[in-house]
């Protein structure tokens, strides 16, 4: 179990910078997720931590050991791959024993350890099977046992759930989470699936174009996105261009003007007058009867109503031409009809000024 410190890390492929001067500190024992769209550099960063990619500049440390120039096989990592990467010509037992044999442990010790970890991942009794005779979920469990049995300093997982079907994904996700807590190993998990990231992580680093946009606990990333990119990538967000008039009545608030109305919103930084982006999640907006007196609201017209079972999604057009998405959960007493005039109410705690 180790702390991972990355300083000024840069990686380029054929002249193109994929990661640019990245700083990152991953605490000991944390479940840390690198989240981002494809091509954001998250897998590259993971492979640089693993030692499969050599950085152009910067340093990487596990605790106080400098790992920057240490070859991958001497880093003491456990890695789980997207395609499982089980050795197809070896049995489940031999796959899991592979790393232990490389460490020249006694056969009896190997046997005991393999047994323990196969049990931990719920794959006891499959010792003699070949990977081809396992389902996708079973393969990923074996791959997990194989990575953990060598008791690595850090566990690196590269989109380990993306080849599984939806139901299995949740199941294996839970096993991974339980096992990680039980073993307490520092884990770096790469995914493009925000739900996975939110469900599993102690901390999430949201990456975009080789940089980290925001690091934080799942709640803070979700509720207080720092940038328009984060707001848009995690969950859905209405991003609205607005004129900031100045600070609001309370600390960390701002007043802005939109379609001739004044709105009080949340602002997690110094407020300066001028153009800004407002992020508001569809589920944080409310609908009310059209009434000019409703505070913190904009008038609009329902353009489309979609019934989705657990929620109703509305598309509301504002007089200025903007379109907002509004989600109402539970049994909405008065289902608004298409063509109806409404007020869209903004929650001052959940409507956030973000940087571009």
């Amino acid at each position: 179990m180790a702390r991972i410190s990355i300083e000024g890390l840069s990686v380029s492929f054929g002249g193109a910078r994929v990661i640019d001067g990245l700083q990152l500190e991953i605490p000991r024992g944390a479940f840390f997720t690198l989240l981002g769209p494809s091509g954001c550099g998250k897998t590259t960063l993971l492979r640089a931590i693993a030692g499969f990619i050599e950085p152009d500049a910067g340093s990487l440390r596990f605790d106080d050991q400098d790992m920057t120039r240490v070859p991958a096989h001497r880093r003491g990592i456990g890695m789980v791959f997207q395609d499982y990467a089980l050795f197809p010509d070896k049995t489940v037992f031999d796959n899991v024993a592979y790393g232990l044999r490389a460490r020249k442990l006694e056969p009896a010790v190997i046997k005991a350890k393999v047994g323990t970890y196969l049990e931990r991942v719920g794959m006891s009794g499959f010792d003699a099977r070949f990977p081809a005779a396992l389902s996708g979920g079973q393969r990923q469990r074996v791959a997990l046992a194989r990575a953990l049995v060598i008791e690595p300093q850090v566990l690196l997982m590269d989109e380990p759930l993306s080849n599984l079907d939806a139901k299995l994904r949740v199941q294996i996700r839970e096993s991974i989470s339980d096992l990680q807590r039980e073993v307490g190993i520092t884990t770096v998990f790469v995914t493009h699936d925000q739900e996975e990231a939110l469900a599993l992580s102690d901390r999430i680093a949201l990456m975009n174009e080789g940089r980290i946009e925001q690091i934080g606990a799942p709640e803070s990333i979700y509720t207080a996105p720092a940038t328009a990119f984060v707001a848009d990538f995690i969950g859905a967000a209405n991003l609205i261009e607005a004129d900031v008039l100045g600070p609001g009545p309370l600390p960390r608030q701002a007043v802005l003007r939109l379609d001739g109305r004044e709105l009080v919103v949340f602002a997690d930084g110094p407020v300066t007058a001028g153009k800004a982006l407002l992020a508001a999640r569809p589920e944080d907006l409310r609908l009310a009867a059209p009434d000019a007196a409703t505070p913190n609201a904009l008038p609009g017209t329902i353009e489309r109503r979609r019934y989705l079972g657990f929620k109703v999604s509305y598309r509301v057009r504002l007089p200025g031409g903007r379109v907002l998405a509004v989600d109402l959960h539970g049994q909405a007493k008065e289902p608004y009809a298409e063509g109806q005039s409404v007020s869209v109410v903004f929650d001052p705690r959940a409507s956030i000024l973000v940087t571009r």
Binding site: A50, F52, E54, P71, A72, H73, R74, G76, I77, G78, M79, F81, Q82, D83, A85, L86, F87, P88, D89, Y98, G99, A102, R103, A143, R146, A147, I150, L156
Partner: protein
């Protein structure tokens, strides 16, 4: 700092492979090409001027192109129809056709030419039988023999290539065409033909290059028909070294023809490759009645004709002979005894040289394909290109280049066994590499990285994880390399020296002197050397020799 890719052991190996390719392939080719512009002895003009001035050479060029065109057309007609019929219809004896690709592998060209002569040559069995019945046959030498024998050797290439394309074709496209209102026949013509056409063209052009480079059949059956490959060989052997410029010029001319054709092939393949996204193969229609009988009969004829050389060579080996005369029907062990007891040297030589070459070739193939597929660096594009180059050069041309280059100097190898092994390795390298790389593409990089992440160093990971996965492909490549090396003639006949005859060379020489009985006995030995490894590989190691094509 030296970049990481140059510090790895794979970079060192890539350097070694590239160095070998440069010394044994690029250098000889360079010598060959540069000699062709020198002045021909006894004249004051260059090789190329002589080539264009003398009718003999112009005829050879014309005949070579004409033969190429005829054989290509004939092979394409037979190969494509067979492929279409076997892919779309079920009829009696169809399973036999599936074995056809084997015949080209196990019947060396020299044996094919020899056995056809034993049947239809001047003293051939059929010729004499029909002659005594009052039906004189035209001479088999020259155009008839060249076209018939080459066609029956090369049509299998078209068959294999076309069959794969037709099987990969999605019949739903045909059904879509029918749903849009075209008749079944028109649909097939308008939809399937364009999709399958690139594969047919590609294999046809391959056949063309093989005809241009063909040595065994051309030399044995060409007779008065001047051909480039024969003239090249003759200008080399007539008085060795007497006419080095002419041999280079002729060799360069055939390189030129093949280069143009291969360029054309690449161009067609690159421009006209359609991707069948998902396919449902056609279900073969079971034929009954007259069509079934007709098809079965036609297929049987092709199969029998293809397998006939095998039967003939075995029969010939056990037939009583006196000089060139075969006493068909009279059993004798004399030829067998002469060959296996009195003069087994060619067989021993073949085993020795071919096994050495196969081992070297396989090790090189594994290294080269691994470097090219998995460990790309600045050198790998050059390796990738050079390693396929021998496909474009005929054996005769390669042999002459090797002799010119290693006759003297720091690496004089002429009249050693080493030069034969080098010729073998270089000629067959493309096959080994192709086989090895095709499996490598199917082994994900993550397998090797998984091993490294578990604490095993990169090179050890290769041996522990990658090599076992490649084993079946390496086995198949070894068997294919062995079978094609054992029967190699065109390069070895150029570079060998007295006492180092291989079995195909000995057969070639015996046919020249008309001693078909002994030639058949050596032929039998050759077929056994080819068949035993194939049999063992398929039977005991369950190798799939014909899927990796």
């Amino acid at each position: 700092m030296i970049p990481r890719q140059m510090r790895s052991v794979w970079f060192v190996l890539a350097c070694a492979v590239l160095a070998l390719l440069v010394v044994f392939l690029v250098w000889p080719l360079f010598n060959l090409l540069s000699a062709s512009v020198a002045t021909v002895k006894g004249t004051n003009q260059s090789g190329w001027a002589t080539f264009l001035a003398e009718a003999k050479y112009r005829d050879a060029l014309f005949n070579t192109l004409l033969l190429g065109a005829i054989v290509t057309a004939a092979s394409t007609v037979i190969g494509v129809s067979l492929a279409y019929l076997t892919a779309r219809f079920d009829f009696p004896f169809k399973a036999l056709i599936a074995m056809l690709p084997l015949t080209t592998l196990i019947v060396p060209e020299v044996i094919a030419a020899q056995t056809w002569l034993m049947m239809l040559g001047n003293n051939g069995l059929i010729t004499t039988l029909l002659g005594s019945a009052g039906i004189p046959l035209p001479s088999f030498y020259g155009w008839p023999g060249l076209v018939i024998v080459m066609t029956f050797i090369y049509y299998t290439y078209v068959y294999i290539g076309t069959l794969a394309a037709i099987r990969g074709f999605d019949v739903q496209l045909e059904e879509a065409a029918q749903s849009l209102g075209t008749s079944p026949a028109t649909s097939r013509l308008k939809v399937m033909v364009p999709v399958v056409m690139p594969a047919i063209l590609a294999t046809s052009l391959l056949v063309f290059t093989l005809v241009v480079g063909n040595f065994a059949v051309a030399t044995i059956l060409g007779h008065k028909v001047q051909l480039l490959s024969v003239l090249t060989y003759l200008s080399f052997v007539s008085e060795v070294g007497a006419d080095p410029v002419m041999q280079s010029t002729l060799a360069s001319a055939s390189i030129g023809i093949v280069a143009v054709v291969l360029f054309l092939q690449r161009w067609i393949v690159a421009r006209k490759r359609y991707e069948i996204v998902q396919g449902r193969g056609a279900r073969a229609t079971t034929l009954k009645g007259l069509p079934a009988i007709a098809l079965a009969a036609a297929a049987l004829v092709v199969v029998v004709v293809s397998v006939l050389p095998l039967v003939t060579v075995v029969a010939g080996a056990f037939t009583h002979t006196r000089g060139p005369v075969m006493y068909w029907g009279q059993f004798s062990l004399a030829s067998i005894e002469r060959v296996f007891v009195n003069a087994p040297d060619p067989i021993i030589n073949t085993l020795l040289y071919a096994s050495t070459a196969t081992m070297i070739g396989i090790v090189l193939s594994v290294i080269a394909s691994y470097v090219v597929v998995k460990k790309r660096n600045v050198l790998t594009p050059a390796i990738d290109y050079l390693i396929m180059l021998p496909m474009a050069i005929s054996g005769t041309v390669l042999g002459i280049g090797l002799v010119m280059t290693f006759n003297t100097g720091w690496l004089a190898m002429t009249s050693t066994a080493a030069i034969i092994v080098v010729a073998y390795v270089v000629r067959r390298l493309p096959f080994g590499v192709r086989n090895a790389s095709s499996t490598l593409y199917n082994i994900p990089n993550s397998i090797e990285e998984a091993s490294i992440s578990l604490g095993v160093p990169p090179l050890a990971s290769f041996f522990k994880v990658i090599l076992p996965l490649m084993a079946p492909a390496i086995g198949a490549a070894a068997v294919l390399t062995w079978t094609t090396t054992v029967s190699e003639l065109s390069a070895s006949v150029v570079v060998y020296s007295a006492g180092r005859e291989t079995t195909p060379i000995q057969i070639f020489r015996l046919i020249d002197t008309g001693l078909n009985g002994r030639a058949s006995a050596y032929g039998l030995a050759l077929v056994v050397m080819i068949l035993v490894p194939i049999f063992i590989a398929v039977k005991f190691f369950k190798l799939e020799l014909f899927t990796a094509k």
